[in-house]
Amino acid sequence: MESIPLTWEEVARVYGRKIYNFAYRLAGNPDDAADLVQEVLLRVRRGLEAYQPGSFEGWLWRITRNAFLDEVRRRNRRPTAPMPEEVDRWGAASAVGADVESDRISLGDDIQKALLQLPYEFREAVVMCDVIGLSYEEIAQATAVPIGTVRSRIHRGRKMLRELLG
């Protein structure tokens, strides 16, 4: 049984990094990810009083997803098309330590670039599952689609990544 954070500050401490990583993998750059974290926490702050006990993860990730999509719409640009320099900047901006093998960093860059080439729905499902660690049911709640659709999106997303990564 998951415990439910009671204040937005607790939500920020417990989930801030997860939200940041979710946005980072979807958008491919740190600035958009930071903006999203702030926007999500603002919405959580507004929404916590009205929160009804249930799946907190589903509630939080629904807010996060909607905030991301709203921001994408607001900027009127596709989240699948980061500028090349943004992708390159990712390597320098990430928190990868100096002791991490260079080939691993290179592979991570390749995977990140491949992720950004996936259609949004597939990328979102894969990131929620493999980066954040949500269950299919939680992803279904967050994205408001049936579990069967989540299952299909994750599978197809991984198959696309396999093709892209060669």
Binding site: A12, R13, G16, S94, V96, I111, R151, H155, R162
Partner: protein, 136 residues
């Protein structure tokens, strides 16, 4: 032959029921194509899960650095899934008195995927400037 398609990913994620897992195992025991696909998908899945955790910029959220929170919470989940895998493989092994393919047995599948489940990077997420707890 009808291939199980997205059941393979769901199996890797521990999202199949025991009955669905048994059906998939039975199919894999006679379908090299799906075994190869499972291996490919397992590699992709592991690669995504091995992506380094990106740390929050300082000051973005209050006292975030003080918290010890895992980014992923697959460990407990996968322990259960691994147990399911073992149970499913044992059940399938009992169904086949003789393997349908001379070079592929249920035991092969067990060693390939059961062992990988326990070695999945989700058990030990990339440790990049992060201190992890043993679950949430």
């Amino acid at each position: 032959m009808t291939h199980p398609s997205d059941a393979i990913s769901a199996y890797l994620d521990g999202e199949l029921t025991a009955a669905e897992s048994r059906l998939l195992m039975a199919h894999l025991a006679s379908c090299g194509k799906c075994v190869a696909e499972m291996e490919d998908l397992q590699r992709v899945r592991a690669a995504i899960r091995a992506l380094p955790v990106v740390e929050l910029p300082q000051g973005l959220v209050p006292e975030a650095e003080a918290e010890l929170v895992p980014l992923r919470r697959h460990r407990g989940f996968w322990m259960g899934a691994a147990a399911t895998v073992v149970a499913a493989v044992i059940a399938v092994a009992a169904m086949f008195s003789s393997p349908p393919q001379p070079n592929l047995t249920v035991e092969d599948l067990s060693s390939r995927f059961g062992a990988r489940a326990s070695l999945d990077p989700a058990f030990t997420p990339a440790k990049v400037n992060v201190i992890y707890q043993e679950g949430e």
